[in-house]
């Protein structure tokens, strides 16, 4: 655990890591309290009928084709995007760690079988996996969407953790624990898992950016977050037919995606260099 705290400290000392962390905290803060402060409920259609207004007083980022305030929707979208990516990444990292630990420690047929599955799953681009599953659903509830995204993202993590475990398995303290008669479960959770937390944290941080992009892409294809829940990808989809009349309705949610993903990746990059200094 101390190694992990040290890595976090090193990432904070890195200007990239600090920029990313501060921006992420800022975005998370806005997502948490922003919707309460904004006058216009994001879902409510403006009764006056002020569609496609350019940015200005009243609508600081303009209004969309349905007279909705773009700023309110971008802020509410942050909440959705962050929630989806956090839960989905947590799910996939947990799954990946479990499979990697079991596969690497048990070895043999279990390992061979799991790794063939991982090889195959990694060969299919994740978007196609999601398209196949999501195409059938009529209107997907948010928790189901999160579940589906989370369960298609653990293959890389599993392979990563397995490689770590194969290395750690030969370490003297693991051998010693086994010789002292420690149960498999104890070896896995007490001795192996804590030493894979560094790479896991890096994978999770970099995974957040990936999932935000993926969710936005799915929503843009109409398969992700369903209206009227505001999501950045869905806003860009809504803005597409009126982009000439109201470019702001499509440009600002996209900028929100870029800033959020960039912050997560900056922090993840600094963290990776702190955990594994090669290639910095």
């Amino acid at each position: 655990m101390t190694a992990l705290a040290e890595a976090l400290r090193a990432a904070w000392r890195d200007p990239r890591g600090r920029t990313g962390a501060i921006l992420l905290a800022l975005i998370a803060g806005i997502a948490l309290i922003g919707p309460a402060l904004l006058p216009d409920p994001a879902l409510q259609v403006d009764p006056v009928g002020a569609a496609n207004l350019p940015p200005g007083p009243g609508h600081w980022l303009g209004s969309d084709a349905l007279s909705r305030d773009v700023l309110s929707r971008v802020v509410s979208g942050a909440r959705v995007s962050l929630a989806v990516s956090l839960v989905a990444v947590l799910l996939s990292v947990t799954l990946g760690a479990m499979v990697g630990l079991v596969s690497g420690y048990l070895g043999g047929a279990v390992d061979a079988g799991l790794m063939r599955l991982v090889d195959a799953a990694l060969a299919i681009p994740r978007l196609f996996l999601l398209l196949l599953v999501l195409a059938a659903a009529e209107r997907l509830a948010l928790p189901v969407l999160i579940l589906v995204i989370g369960t298609t993202g653990w293959f890389g993590t599993a392979r990563l953790v397995r490689a770590e475990v194969l290395r750690l398995r030969e370490e003297a303290y693991v051998r010693a624990a086994e010789a002292l008669g420690a149960e498999r479960r104890r070896v896995i959770f007490r001795h192996l898992l804590p030493n894979t937390l560094g790479p896991l944290l890096v994978a999770a941080t970099l995974g957040i950016g990936d999932v935000i992009l993926l969710e936005a892409g799915l929503s843009f294809l109409g398969l992700g977050v369903q209206p009227p829940t505001p999501s950045w990808g869905g806003m860009i989809l809504d803005a597409k037919p009126v982009l000439v009349a109201a470019p702001w309705a499509g440009i600002f949610p996209g900028l929100a995606i870029v800033v959020t993903v960039l912050s997560a990746n900056l922090f993840g990059d600094a963290l990776r260099d702190a955990v594994d200094p090669r290639g910095a």
């Binding site: 195409a135 843009f220 996209g254 995606i257 990059d269």
Partner: protein
Amino acid sequence: MARWLVRRLAQSAITFGVVVLLLFVLMRLAPGDPLSRLQDGRPMSPEEIAWTRKLYQVDRPMGEQLVSFLTGVGRGDLGNSIAYGLPVTTIIRNRLPATLLLGGTVLLLNFTLGLWLGVRQAVRRGSREDRWLTTLSLAGYAIPSFWLGLVLAWAVGVKLRWLPPGGMTNPLLSADAGPAALALDVAAHLILPALTLSAVTIAGTMRYQRSAMLEVLRLPYIVTARAKGARESAVTWRHAWRNALFPVVTLFGLWLPLLVTGSVFVETVFVWPGLGSLAAGAVGARDYPLLMGTSLLAAGLVIAATLLTDVAYSLLDPRVRYS
């Protein structure tokens, strides 16, 4: 070597086999019937429904469906598209050239411009240019391809009218315009989608080239080359880059999924008549056979690319051990 090659080939074949199984299971695990969209806007009689179910073989037991799917894949038959009513392989063949043109252009861009920029960064490590290029390439990774495409189509295509905002050819161009004019027309349509797809994928090439180059630049033989009085450009390109190129090229198999995913969005935004927009369209129409076909092709490409680069690497770099 021969034994390694055979094992590597077998491994790829097994992976592809598992991919086929996985895709079938995923499609059937998914909630909802593959044919549920057929009735959208047009109610069908029970006889019609039964007939259609029979036509697409979804009325048979799961095991039987799997067997017929597997034998179909073995024969190179991916079934018929629900939306188009044509064999999936025919549709894919018609759409393949456009995707190859776009993907090839992007690969060319990434492997020339991207490698060159990565080498420059490594040589000027820590400089202002290096930091800016790192930030820029990271930003590229963070941009949703569909958004960048829309913004470019709007700004360059609609506002400035410099380039066509979508499509692959100008339908108003007469057919007897001559090959040069036709090629120029396609090239003009190609610029925006290729730039978009390259901008969001080039970061990988740049970053790996940079770190591979840094790795090599700290080796003793570089010091020797400098001590012998070789020009700095010769040290960079003839001595260092030669050894820093292969590690980057071998990651080709890793980047391909990124390119395939990006092409789904970029082709959709720019109405590019390739496989990416085909797959996106198949989702909307719930055209499962078509979606399966494109997914299978994408996975097959990734497996083949990984295999090819592995083999090329072991042939070209004698330091690689076959184990």
